[in-house]
């Protein structure tokens, strides 16, 4: 294995965010940001979920499923066989708020569904139920650097296991009063289906290398506000490169003093 550089194919992409309804239309807007208009994120209903789970699923589950579905469809892969990495800066904010409110009342009558949904890996759990998948899955977070951490983990699973891995990064804002202490602009999801082989319709290759260069911005005020305002949107500089097919490295934030240089190599 070459010293600390990860090379893998991107076979599918999913995108959902403010003014970005999916990757097919979003890539056009990211390639030409003057056409992008900010608008509240519209989260589609998770039709893939069985009815009982659909009723119980919170916002972060729905965002994750929406972008995961896009990426799997584009790759033409059966999600049942695909390992997953879910990355989010936190869990379901509305659910967390409701639990904390309940625990502050004298009765503390916690709802069992709320408690079950409070786990950080709820999106992964619902996705694997929806796809009847027993493939490995992990769920992680690194505060604002959650996308970069997820990309590192997904690429390393892909290369170590020589298997496709679906990365799903998603964030959903808290209601007040938590929103005031952790303001997120809106809900957003990004999915990348990584593989060691190009597949029938390869999109591009990624070359991922940890480094210490400063993370870069979006070069567009509105998109840059998104990048700074939602952890999953830290993927935007990479998505912009992918949308334009530019073979230039971009630097993504990972942690204090640590970044990822990701180079897009068009197929």
């Amino acid at each position: 294995m070459s010293g600390g550089v990860l090379n893998c194919w991107v076979r599918g992409v999913g995108l959902l965010g403010p003014g970005l309804s999916d990757w097919a239309t979003g890539r056009e807007l990211l390639a030409e940001p003057s056409r992008w208009v900010s608008a509240p994120t519209v989260v589609p209903a998770p039709s893939r979920l069985p009815p009982a789970e659909r009723r119980r699923a919170g916002g972060i589950v729905k965002v994750g499923i929406a972008v995961a579905d896009q990426a799997c469809a584009q790759a033409g892969l059966d999600p049942r066989d695909v390992a997953t990495v879910f990355s989010a800066s936190t869990g379901d904010g509305a659910n967390c708020h409701a639990l904390c409110e309940t625990l502050a009342t004298p009765q503390r009558a916690v709802s069992p569904t709320r408690f079950t949904n409070s786990v950080h890996n709820a999106p992964a759990g619902y996705w694997h139920i929806a796809t009847a998948s027993r493939a490995p899955s992990t769920s992680l977070c690194a505060h604002d650097a959650s996308f970069g951490a997820g990309l590192l983990e997904a690429a390393s699973q892909c290369l170590c296991g020589q298997q496709p891995v679906l990365l799903v990064a998603s964030d959903v804002p808290y209601p007040q009063p938590l929103q005031a202490t952790r303001p997120l602009l809106d809900a957003m999801g990004v999915a990348l289906l990584l593989d060691t082989v190009p597949g029938d319709a390869p999109l591009l290759r990624l070359r991922i290398e940890p480094g210490d260069a400063a993370p870069e911005g979006c070069g567009h005020a509105g998109l840059e506000a998104l990048r700074r305002g939602i952890p999953a949107a830290r993927a935007l500089p990479l998505l912009q490169r992918m949308a334009r097919g530019l073979a230039q490295p971009c630097v993504l934030e990972v942690l204090d003093g640590l970044s990822l240089a990701v180079t897009v190599e068009p197929a």
């Binding site: 936190t90 869990g91 502050a104 079950t116 786990v119 769920s139 690194a142 940890p210």
Partner: protein, 394 residues
């Protein structure tokens, strides 16, 4: 996979702080559970609480990270000179080449629970003393530990409920194998809070007495807290133990109930064996997930039988520690490494009437035996399964 040296490990739990206290409590066949008097919780149950956490201060430069979860992490990192071992590894490999991957399920949610009791009556705002990033954020304990240890490599928190801190061993193994890092601190930290006490109570999974894994009369789990850590390095002249394999799988079945035949658990155990290149008969003991809920123990019994048959000695140590949730995988890995080092299999506590429906070779008392390879199971909500295979130093 190539066996990976584990060069140091430690734990702080209801069994005590450090290897010696943990070992002697296990050797004595004692447990660390006590009747619940945590915070303002009004529930009849038993818990595995770490003593002295409330009054344990952090160094001034880390004071803004103060919360029960990070104090527990600090206590664990200081035990047995573990932080000094990490410093030695950072000198050897470079602090940018040492990763840090920790599991937690609830982070410092206790701080948020308390803040919600003190909201501004006019605006509903949380008190200004509330620090989101340093306490509530699920990544808090990794950011805190990275600062406390002076590490500069990749770091994140894995939060897959009760399998979290088993899975971090696999994260470290992968990044070391790919050459991105040369060493990693892995572990788990989860601390008592009202969310888990009242949450498991709402699911009717909280035992009113000390939990009784594999017992016919088992009535649910006892919640515990722990901080447990291990140091993995690419090479070592004096390993304390070996990481031989990590198996991971999903149930894809239900958010809070295991697959009844344990199909996901079977996949995790077989995955670990395949990665280690071992046959089932190469394993000497299984530390069960063994939460003492009716469904979990039944599903795990079926899974262990399917993989290992009914002869292999196994036990759950949760009757001694309580279920430490996101820290359970790392705590039980530490218990397994103590078992390997000192040649004994810890017996399960509190089993008064064996469940005839469960057919694994469950140990009720400690058994002395030279051990070469042990397995540790960890399963969580969302159908997240992990199995670690650990080997003796030799």
């Amino acid at each position: 996979m190539t066996p990976l040296p584990i060069t140091d490990y430690t734990a702080a739990s209801a069994l005590g702080v450090g290897r010696e206290a943990t070992l002697s409590t296990l050797r004595a066949g004692r447990g660390g559970l006590s009747a619940q008097h945590f915070e303002t919780a009004a529930l009849e149950t038993w818990i595995g609480q770490v003593e002295g956490l409330d009054g344990a201060p952090l160094p001034a430069e880390l004071a803004e990270w103060a919360c029960r979860n990070n104090r527990l992490a600090w206590l664990g990192l200081q035990a047995d000179g573990f932080a000094q071992s990490v410093a030695r590894a950072a000198r050897r490999w470079g602090s940018r080449r040492v990763g840090l991957f920790l599991g937690t399920s609830t982070s410092a949610i206790l701080e948020t629970e308390l803040a919600y009791r003190h909201r501004d009556p006019e605006t509903g705002a949380l008190p200004s003393s509330f620090r989101y990033e340093q306490t509530h954020s699920t990544a808090s304990v990794a950011a805190f530990a990275r600062r406390a240890l002076g590490l500069e490599g990749p770091a994140f928190v894995v939060s897959t409920a009760c399998s979290s801190s088993a899975k971090v061993f696999a994260n470290a193994q992968r990044l070391i194998a790919l050459g991105l890092i040369d060493a990693a601190v892995v572990g788990g930290v989860d601390s008592l809070c009202l969310t888990t006490l009242y949450g498991f109570n709402s699911l009717e999974l909280l035992s009113r007495e000390p939990c009784r894994p594999w017992d016919a009369e088992r009535r649910g789990l006892s919640i515990g807290e722990a901080g447990a850590f291990a140091l993995l390095e690419r090479e070592s002249d004096a390993p304390a133990a070996w990481l031989l394999g990590c198996g991971e799988s999903s149930d894809g079945y239900h958010m809070s109930s295991p697959h009844p035949e344990g199909l996901g658990a079977i996949a995790a155990m077989r995955g670990a064996l395949a990665q280690a290149g071992l046959r089932p008969e190469g394993v000497d003991y299984v530390n069960l997930h063994g939460t003492a809920t009716s469904n979990n123990d039944a599903a795990e019994d079926a899974a262990v039988r399917a993989v290992f048959g009914t002869g292999l000695p196994c036990s759950s140590t949760k009757g001694a520690t309580g279920h430490t949730l996101g820290a359970a995988g790392a705590l039980e890995a530490v218990i397994c490494m103590l078992a390997l080092r000192h040649g004994f299999m810890p017996g399960g506590l509190n089993r008064l009437s064996p469940d005839p429906a469960l057919q694994c070779n469950y140990l009720d008392a400690n058994r002395e035996a030279a051990l070469s390879v042990v397995a540790s199971n960890s399963f969580g909500f969302g159908g997240s399964n992990a199995c670690l295979l650990l080997g003796a130093a030799r």
